[in-house]
C-alpha cells in the first residue's frame, strides 16, 4: 500500500469511528478540537507578534523594529519582506504578514510618532486592473472606467444577470474566478474552494472567459510566446526564464505557462507600486516635507506624516498613485484603465478612517 492509499484508508477508518460515537462524545470532540485550534492560534499570535516584537525592541534598544525588503525575494517578481538578520537570527517580524485579526488588532501597535499620523494607501484591485490593461480587455476596462464594483459586474456578465440581481454567492464565485485567472488556477481549484462540481466549475470559468474575451486571447498570446521563447517578460522589461516550457510532460509545460502568465501580471503590479513609491519619495524630498514612506504591503503604501502635512501628503499620494508620472516618464506606460486608491488616516497601522481630500485637484 502506498502513502496515499494508506492516508485514504486511515481517513475512512477515522470517519467510521466518528460515525459510531455517541452524541455526547461526538459533540464534545468537535468542541474540544475547535477550542484547541483557537488555543493554538492565540499562542502563535503571542509567540510571533508579542514575544517577537518585544525581543526585537530589546535588541534594538528602542521602540522601533526594522524589516528587510527583498527586490529579488520571489520568483513571481513581487517584493518579499521579513524581520532582519541580526546575530545570525531573524529578528522581529515580517511586516507583510501582520494579521488583520478582528479580536486582536495586532496592527494597532505599529504607530505614528507623536505629532504624526499614520497613512495607508491601498491600490484597489490592482492586479485585475493590470490584467485588463495587458489583455486590452474592453468589458473589464469598462467596469473600471465606470467605477462599478468589478466582481458584481463580472458575476452579472458570467451568470447573464442584471447587476442588481447578483447574489452574494455569485459575486464571491466571480471574484474567485478573476483571481484564479491572475494566479493561474484551474477548474479543479475553483471546484475545491467553492465546494462545487468540476463540471459546474468549468462552466462558470467558461462563462467568465466569454464575458471577458480579451483574457483568453491574452493567455493564448502569452502561451505562444513562452512556448517559442522559454521566458516571459513584463511591461517594465523584467523577465522570468521558463526552461520548463520546453518539457516533454504536458503538466510541466502547463505549470511553466501558469508561472509565466502570473508573472506578467503580478510582477507588473509590483513594479507599478514600486515606481509610484519612487515618484512620491522624490517629491516628498523635493518639497522638504516631514512625511515619509515607512512600509509597503503588496498593494499598499504606508506613510507617517506630521499632522499639519496630512492633506498635502494625501494629495501627493493620490497624484503619484493614480497619475503615476514616474512610470509615464521612465517607462512610457499609460494604463488603459484608471488606477484608484483608498486612503486611511489614523494613529496606527491598525486604526484610522477613510480620508477624503479637502481639495482633490491640488
Amino acid at each position: 500500500m502506498n502513502r496515499f492509499e494508506k492516508l485514504e484508508q486511515d481517513k475512512q477508518i477515522s470517519r467510521s469511528v466518528v460515525t459510531s460515537m455517541d452524541n455526547q462524545k461526538l459533540v464534545g470532540a468537535r468542541n474540544f478540537i475547535k477550542s484547541l485550534l483557537e488555543f493554538r492560534r492565540s499562542r502563535k499570535l503571542f509567540d510571533t507578534y508579542i514575544s517577537g516584537v518585544r525581543e526585537a525592541m530589546k535588541y534594538n534598544g528602542s521602540n522601533k523594529i526594522y524589516v528587510e525588503y527583498r527586490l529579488d525575494g520571489t520568483v513571481t517578481g513581487r517584493l518579499s519582506n521579513a524581520g532582519y538578520e541580526a546575530g545570525g537570527n531573524r529578528m522581529g517580524i515580517s511586516f507583510h504578514t501582520l494579521p488583520r485579526e478582528s479580536r486582536f488588532n495586532i496592527r494597532d501597535y505599529v504607530v505614528a510618532p507623536k505629532g504624526y499620523k499614520f497613512i495607508t494607501a491601498d491600490m484597489k484591485s490592482m492586479e485585475l486592473r493590470i490584467l485588463a490593461h495587458l489583455a486590452k480587455e474592453k468589458n473589464m476596462a469598462k467596469a473600471f472606467n465606470d467605477r462599478v464594483d468589478l466582481h458584481t459586474y463580472s458575476a452579472a456578465m458570467t451568470f447573464g444577470k442584471q447587476m442588481d440581481k447578483v447574489t452574494k454567492e455569485e459575486r464571491q464565485i466571480a471574484k474567485a474566478v478573476s483571481f484564479l485567472t491572475v494566479y493561474g488556477g484551474t477548474e479543479k481549484t475553483l471546484a475545491t474552494k467553492q465546494g462545487i462540481s468540476f463540471k459546474k466549475a468549468k462552466s462558470i470559468i467558461d462563462g467568465w472567459m466569454a464575458a471577458f474575451p480579451g483574457v483568453p486571447k491574452y493567455m493564448e498570446l502569452v502561451d505562444k510566446f513562452i512556448t517559442n521563447n522559454k521566458y516571459a517578460y513584463t511591461i517594465f522589461g523584467r523577465r522570468r526564464n521558463l526552461p520548463n516550457a520546453g518539457a516533454d510532460a504536458k503538466y510541466i509545460r502547463q505549470e511553466a505557462f501558469r508561472q509565466g502568465l502570473n508573472f506578467t501580471v503580478q510582477s507588473s503590479a509590483s513594479d507599478t507600486l514600486i515606481c509610484c513609491m519612487l515618484g512620491l519619495h522624490n517629491e516628498l524630498k523635493k518639497r522638504k516635507l516631514g512625511s515619509k514612506i515607512v512600509a509597503t504591503v503588496h498593494d499598499s503604501i504606508e506613510l507617517i506624516a506630521p499632522e499639519s502635512e496630512v492633506d498635502e501628503t494625501v494629495s501627493l499620494l493620490n497624484y503619484h498613485m493614480t497619475s503615476y508620472p514616474y512610470i509615464k516618464e521612465n517607462f512610457g506606460i499609460n494604463f488603459s484603465v484608471p488606477l484608484e486608491i483608498e486612503v486611511v488616516v489614523g494613529d496606527s497601522f491598525g486604526s484610522g478612517e477613510e480620508y477624503h481630500l479637502s481639495n482633490p485637484t491640488s
Binding site: 477508518i13 477550542s35 524589516v67 546575530g87 494597532d108 513609491m277 512600509a295
Partner: protein, 171 residues
Amino acid sequence: MLGQDGKKTDWRNMPLTQMARGNALDAYFTLKVFHKLERLIQDLKMQNLYDKLMVPAVEFFKDMELDGLYISSAKVEELGSQLKGDIYDKEDQLFSFPQVNKTYELTSTDDLVKVLYSADKKHNIVDGGFGLFPPISSEKTGAPSTSAEALDILLEQLEDEIDRRGLNEQV
C-alpha cells in the same frame, strides 16, 4: 575568514578591522560580478529597468529599512495581556472536558495524542480521551498526528456527522 567553523556571522560584535576586510572583499567580488552582469543586462535589454527601477529602489528601500517602524510598547503590552488572558481562558476551557487528564500539557503532542486518540504514540490504548482514530500518522515513526491538517480532517468529519444527526440545533 568570516563565518568559519559553521559559526554565524555576528556583525554587531565584530572588530572593525575584521569587518573592514570582510567588506573590502565583498566589494571587490561584487564589482567583478557587476562587470559580468552589466553586459548581460544590456544583452537582455534590461538597462532601463536597472537604471530607473532597480538602482533607485535599492537606495529607497535601504533608507526605509534603516528608518524602521515605530512601535507602541504600551499597545504591545496591552495586546500581550489580552492574548495571554485568552490563552488562559482557552486552557481552562480545554481542561474542563472530562476526557482531558488535569496533569496533561496541552502543548505536548504526546498528551494530545492521548486525549484525541485514547492511545499513546505507539498506539497502546490508554484510559480517557475521545477515542478518535488518527486520520494521519507520521510516515517515519508511525505516531498519530495532531497537526493542524489532522485536526482539520477530524473537525470536518465530526461536523458532517453532527449535521447528519441534526445535533447542531440541540446544542
